[in-house]
Amino acid sequence: MAKQTKKLYALHGRKKHSFNLPLTKTIKIGKREYKIVIKEDNKYGTYILWKNRRYPVEINLSRQNKFEILFNYVSYSFTIETPFSLKRKQYLSKEKGASEDEKIIAPMPGKILEVMISQGDEINRGDPLVILEAMKMQNEINCPVNGIVTSINVDPGMNVNKDDIMLELKIIQ
């Protein structure tokens, strides 16, 4: 990719951060370039040293080109795109039109132990939604999309059957 692409974008929500390749270990502010050092030691763990300050860093999820990073205690979800894949995304969102609804159904009969979200919550793909007890085991049901909870149809203690709609979300890209 480095031979073909001259740029990479890191997308977070509606923000687009652009980086030229090859990637230098610096960030430019105004006219000055400030060096970035990635460090790991016994006292502090993994962190970034920048402008003489230490920033704690955790990489919570890394999947293909998606990264969830906890930087100085704030969580960001980034998707890394090339100029071409960005254009592709724009084309696809035009084609797919308005956002759709996602129904989260019970994969098997069981009892709801815990409901971890509330109506109106913004959920990221992979976030836990409910804990369903079945086969004497606790199963965490995770969210398959990024979305906002529009309705919750279950309560802790409730029994559900297979394919019951437990909750609904409005999908956001």
Binding site: L8, V57, E58, L70, Y73, V74, Y76
Partner: protein, 501 residues
């Protein structure tokens, strides 16, 4: 009766706290080890550890009255400190301790019972002319009665669980047509959470300040108050930050409310440490809400402004000693702020974020106190609370305390899971918080974001994500093939493969 060995029926930071004072007093301490946190910090601080990891019961040990009593007897403890939460406000537990000749470090079972039932507490306050919000005389038996009482009081009203607290079993009702549904929901939740579906109704004060007074009493009937705490920074009825004293009160109010606190405590013959809670509205009126018959999470701020060790006083009082302070001895010195740093994700509505705390470095210094049950390597289990540490800051004035707090928060270093630290860093820079004008509406209505957004930090994070992407996917150097190793197939095997074909 001198206490020699206290069994602490609790865990986490409060267990560590109690052990600290007990050590100071030369008293031995015992704690219980559970299968959920076999390596918790409090275990290494106590003198004796009772290993309860075999316990496969559905009931966790900290709320298992029979089991705790048995453990106390087994290890030869002569007193039990319940901490806060769990069985701290369970009158049966306090009674069972007494029955088994174990000194319960807290008030009498009778006062726990009376103040624990909100309807009885209201009746007592009423008969002692304590200012309160309008409310039902007793429990509300039906939807019809609920509507009738609510009409009399005037909307908005709040339905509360008689045996409850902590925000559970509460429903705010603003109009009559919502009442039947809310009544049912509140009763059900109360039944589920407290095994008692009785509810009562009070006038709902829209976004008051929450101000509470610390009281201390001995078994001879001497009761004093140790000034107030302001706990209005709350989210869904969970306190996040507390201060002592409150910037809303003047000396006159302070004196008045303090006296009322002592009055209601006396009405039930209270001894040991307790807290009287008030709602304080926009017009400067205060109303008694309830009394908590235990030591509270936020007790350190009171300790810092009065210089008194409340746990020490609790133990002395339990031993039968007289209060060694008179009201006029209690001085108000300076200002204290406590930040409850929890393992919660502020960006997902403070949802719990259990996990392992890889590193924790808390600031230290003259004006800094840290109460914690967590050290580097500790695991925040999902079945106990999400508290990581309490950061308590002192200053000679509120302004100084706030400045010290800001500095201290910037020095906190926690790695391993999401924490509420960014929330406090935001709060300490928020103008409304800084001028003290916050009420309980603050978190839900007046702030747009739970953390301070920094453009540079986002850019750095974006850089890191890009760097990781390149490292994982584009960097071919970590896919270098060791050709010799790959081709190194023994003749034995190669022969077999060839002859098979």
């Amino acid at each position: 009766m001198k206490i020699k060995n206290i069994l602490i029926a609790n865990r986490g930071e409060i267990a560590v706290r109690i052990i600290k004072t007990a050590k100071k007093m030369g008293i031995a301490t015992s704690v219980i080890k559970t299968v959920s946190e076999p390596a918790a910090m409090y275990l290494s601080h106590a003198d004796t550890v009772y290993d309860d990891t075999d316990n496969v019961s559905e009931i966790p040990v900290f709320i298992d009255i029979e089991r705790i009593i048995k453990i106390a007897i087994d290890i030869g403890a002569d007193a039990i400190h319940p901490g806060y939460g769990f069985l701290a406000e369970n009158p049966y537990f306090a009674q069972k301790c007494a029955d088994n000749k174990l000194i319960f470090i807290g008030p009498s079972p009778d006062s726990i019972y009376k103040m624990g039932n909100k309807i009885i507490a209201r009746k007592i306050a009423l008969s002692n002319n304590i200012p309160m919000t309008l409310g039902s005389d007793g429990k509300i038996p039906s939807e019809k009665e609920a509507i009738r009482v609510a009409r009399k009081i005037g909307y908005p009203v709040i339905i509360k669980a008689a045996s409850g607290g902590g925000g559970r079993g509460m429903r705010i009702v603003r109009k009559e047509e919502d009442m039947p549904k809310m009544f049912r929901m509140a009763s059900n939740e109360a039944d589920k959470t407290f095994s008692d579906h009785s509810v009562f109704i009070e006038k709902y004060i829209e976004y008051p300040k929450h101000i509470e007074f610390q009281v201390l009493g001995d078994k001879k009937g001497n009761i004093i108050h140790l000034w107030e705490r302001e706990c209005s920074v709350q989210r869904k009825h969970q306190k996040l930050l507390e201060e002592a004293p409150s910037s809303a009160l003047n000396d006159q109010l302070r004196k008045e409310m303090g006296e009322i606190s002592v009055k209601i405590a006396s009405a039930v013959g209270y001894f040991s440490a307790g807290t009287v809670e008030f709602l304080y509205d926009a017009n400067g009126n205060y109303y008694f809400m309830e009394m908590n018959t235990r030591i509270q999470v936020e007790h350190p701020v009171t300790e810092l402004i009065t210089g008194i060790d409340l746990i020490e006083e609790q133990i002395r009082i339990a031993e039968g000693k007289d209060l060694r302070f008179k009201q006029q001895d209690i001085k108000l010195n300076g200002w204290a702020i406590e930040c409850r740093i929890n393992a919660e994700d502020v960006q997902s509505g403070f949802s719990p974020a259990p996990g392992k705390i890889e590193k924790i470095i808390m600031p230290s210094g003259e004006n800094i106190r840290v109460d914690t049950g967590v050290q580097s390597g500790s695991v925040i289990a999902a079945n106990f609370d999400s508290m990581i540490a309490k950061l308590i800051i002192y200053g000679k004035t509120r302004k100084e305390a706030l400045a010290n707090c800001k500095q201290a928060l910037d020095k906190v270093w926690i790695k391993g899971t999401k924490t509420t630290l960014p929330f406090f860093r935001m709060l300490i820079r928020n103008p409304n918080f800084l001028d003290g004008s916050i009420t309980t509406s603050f978190i839900e209505n007046e702030i747009s974001s739970y953390y301070v957004y920094s453009e540079y930090e986002e850019k750095l994070a974006a850089w890191l994500a890009t760097w990781l992407f390149i490292d994982e996917n584009l960097d071919e150097s970590n896919l270098k093939v060791n050709v010799e190793e790959t081709r190194n197939i023994s003749p034995w095997l190669l022969n077999k493969r060839i002859s098979r074909h």
